[in-house]
């Protein structure tokens, strides 16, 4: 992708689903690839089971940390109920990645859905797998590495 333009990703879901962890991993992988990256999210009330979303923007130089409505190139949604809530963030030409893109039966642990959907996103971003793997290891405790690396691979493989 051209480095001169800013690419916008929005990750949305419900509190407790790992939205913020997914954006940590995504921004970590992009930062390792040498992009300027900004990640922005809202804490607080959102942690009590309400809607949560996190913005990740990357390119050669990023200014605002927030994705403006209707400007997301990729919208990753972790909860089916949040698809319509978050859809206005997506560009008309943008790509929606929803939970249906990772068949439930294929995931060993449903808690890894966030990382599996990052795997789906990874099909569209030109980032080496080792950067993703390093970001996953950096963001999660060691005992969760194997399950999440596997979830990422499941999502990445069409």
């Amino acid at each position: 992708m051209p480095r001169s333009e800013t690419t916008n990703v929005v990750i949305a879901g419900l509190g407790g689903q790992g939205v913020l962890k997914a954006s940590d991993i995504l921004s970590g992988a992009l930062f390792r690839a040498g992009f300027d990256v900004k990640k922005s999210e809202i804490h607080g009330m959102s942690q009590r089971g309400g809607s949560v979303s996190s913005d990740v923007r990357f390119g050669s130089k990023v200014y605002s940390p927030m994705v403006p409505p209707g400007q997301a190139d990729y919208l990753v949604v972790l909860a089916p109920s949040q698809v319509e809530v978050a859809r206005p963030m997506l560009k008309p030409s943008g790509l929606l990645i929803d939970p249906g893109m990772v068949p439930e039966g294929r995931l060993g642990n449903k808690k890894s859905l966030n990382v599996a959907l990052l795997g789906v996103l990874a099909r569209h971003l030109d980032l080496a797998d080792n950067l993703w793997h390093a970001a996953i290891r950096a963001a999660l405790p060691e005992k969760l590495h194997a399950a999440n690396l596997q979830a990422f691979a499941i999502g990445k493989t069409p």
Partner: protein
């Protein structure tokens, strides 16, 4: 002792960047009270091995920081915007006394109210108290400006406000260190300065004059060499901005000439005047109140401001584009997300169900339990500020007809009770309403709302090491409240209506403590209670 690690480039939040700067500056003390979006600063400082502690509230945190600064030590005090209201009393007079060691006060504002009861713009405090204010716009500046704040604080011997906002605190952006050079620290030791620090009127009058003289000096310095860069651009449109708004401006109007105010108080008046004169049209773009706009206009500088509709909520690139275009057409409404709710199994739930079923008039307070206002509970009638549950409840009791007064219950959380509820309880025994009163403390053994922080009622310090534990029932006993009842709202859930009914029927003062650890904290609390971390 300053400690500076090897050169590095990392992706960190603004809060983490401030903690790192405080560590590198060799702070001797970090104090605060948890509050979104400021909480992670002290937690990160502790994680890095720095000195960090939770105070009962922001006023005490500020005072402890001020004492450290009187001793010549560097101190960092952190709070959310409304916390500075609580700490305002010492802040205003600390501007008179001044400091020896650097005292940096972080005010983390919440425009848009992601997790707050108002969206006050604390830049007003810098002017009102007369303290210099730095406004970072990303994590690099959060780090650099925190170090500059210590430097300015020591150079002019004044507390310095580091004013951040949610999108600076909670956005992760690149941070390169070493950044701004770490200023050398002074030795710590007590030097008596009675006229400088004892603010009786005779000493305070000259102190006020000293403060205004310092501010005039800083304003002149700010014009000469303050951190207020101009980004060159088309002379047709110039934009004056500060903080996070700068980032939106650069994207919304990349062709514009921009004056970015880093030290936004004392005002760099000549800098603003020269800038405005260099462009055909000069526009101020800022989140929240028209703070810079009013300052510029008062100085006689011809600037345009934003339409009033953009005073509300956060700015973003889209809204800044509209401000630049003067677009006041209605903004498209985004679909409402799922609101937060009390967790399934939360011990607060049973109490709110009983309050609802008994048709109580509930004066509530700040915390997770404010969610008791929403269905299916709909069991809260007021929520204003930390501790207000008790005073507001008493005011209702004093003035409502007795039949209504007897329905009034004050509900407050454990951390909030320690923060600002104790004085309310004193008021309750000092001026008891004729119908008595019922105070309920929802004691879930943690500061849940902000992410499970310790407080004086948990018996553990910020780093979870064991310390003295404040007993609410012993406080009530000492105050002479005869009816004190402690129960478990899960195990004894069936008794809650009766416990409340009995207290409400008494025309006496009652304290009811619903004690059960927060579900999210219970596991960690069990481990900490079994294996207490010994004090250092």
């Amino acid at each position: 002792m300053s400690q500076q690690a090897a050169p590095s480039r990392r992706l960190v939040s603004g809060n983490e960047a401030v903690a790192l700067a405080a560590l590198h500056a060799g702070v001797k003390l970090g104090a605060g009270y948890p509050g979104t979006p400021s909480t992670e600063i002290l937690e990160t400082l502790d994680g890095l091995g720095g000195p960090a502690e939770w105070a009962p509230n922001e006023k005490v945190a500020f005072e402890v920081g001020l004492g450290a600064a009187f001793a010549g030590a560097r101190a960092l005090v952190t709070m959310k915007h409304v916390g500075l209201n609580v700490a305002a009393d010492p802040l205003f007079t600390a501007a008179y006394t001044g400091v020896v060691g650097g005292l940096v006060v972080v005010s983390a504002d919440d425009p848009g109210m992601a997790s707050s009861q108002n969206e006050q713009d604390n830049r007003r405090f810098a002017v009102a108290a007369g303290v210099p204010m730095l406004e970072p716009s990303d994590s690099q500046e959060a780090y650099d400006f925190a170090l500059r704040a210590f430097e300015l604080s020591e150079r002019w011997q004044l507390p310095v406000l580091l004013r951040m906002t949610t999108r600076v605190c909670h956005s992760a952006t690149a941070l390169e260190t070493p950044g701004y050079p770490v200023p050398a620290a002074k030795p710590v030791g007590f030097v008596r300065d009675v006229p400088g620090r004892v603010m009786i009127p005779a000493y305070a009058r000259p102190a006020h004059r000293r403060l205004r003289a310092k501010l005039a000096e800083i304003a002149a310095w700010n014009d000469r060499e303050g951190p207020n860069p101009t980004i060159d651009g088309d002379a047709g449109l110039g934009i004056i901005t500060s903080g996070i708004s700068f980032q939106h401006v650069r994207e919304a109007a990349p062709e514009a000439r921009v004056l970015k105010l880093g030290l936004s108080y004392p005002f760099a008046a000549e800098t603003m005047r020269r800038f405005a004169a260099s462009v055909a049209r000069c526009l101020v773009v800022e989140e929240g109140d028209p703070f810079l706009y009013e300052a510029a206009r008062t100085l006689g500088i011809a600037v345009d401001g934003k339409p009033e509709m953009y005073r509300f909520g956060e700015l973003d690139v889209e809204r800044v584009s509209r401000i630049v275009a003067g677009d006041t057409s209605p903004e498209p409404a985004l679909p409402a997300g799922k609101p937060p709710e009390l967790c399934p199994g939360c011990p607060h739930r049973n109490v709110f169900e009983a309050l609802r079923d008994l048709d109580c008039i509930v004066t509530g307070d700040i915390g997770c339990y404010t969610l008791g206002v929403l269905p299916p509970f709909s069991a809260m009638d007021t929520c204003v500020c930390m501790g207000a549950a008790i005073g507001v409840g008493l005011g209702l009791r004093h003035t409502l007809p007795p039949v209504e007064a007897r329905r009034v219950v004050s509900v407050i959380g454990d951390s909030t009770f320690v923060h600002s509820g104790i004085t309310g309880m004193v008021e309750m025994v000092y001026n008891p309403p004729p119908t008595g009163h019922v105070l309920v403390i929802l004691d879930n053994a943690t500061t849940a709302m902000t992410g499970l922080q310790e407080h004086p009622g948990t018996g553990r310090r910020l780093n979870h090491e064991a310390t003295s534990k404040v007993s609410f029932e012993a406080l009530a006993d000492a105050l002479g409240i005869k009816n004190v009842r402690v129960f478990d709202p899960i195990v004894e859930s069936d008794k809650i209506p009766e416990i409340l009914r009995e207290a409400l029927g008494k025309d006496e003062l009652s304290l009811i403590i619903a004690r059960r650890p927060c579900l999210l904290a219970a596991g960690a609390i069990k481990v900490r209670e079994k294996q207490p971390r010994a004090p250092k």
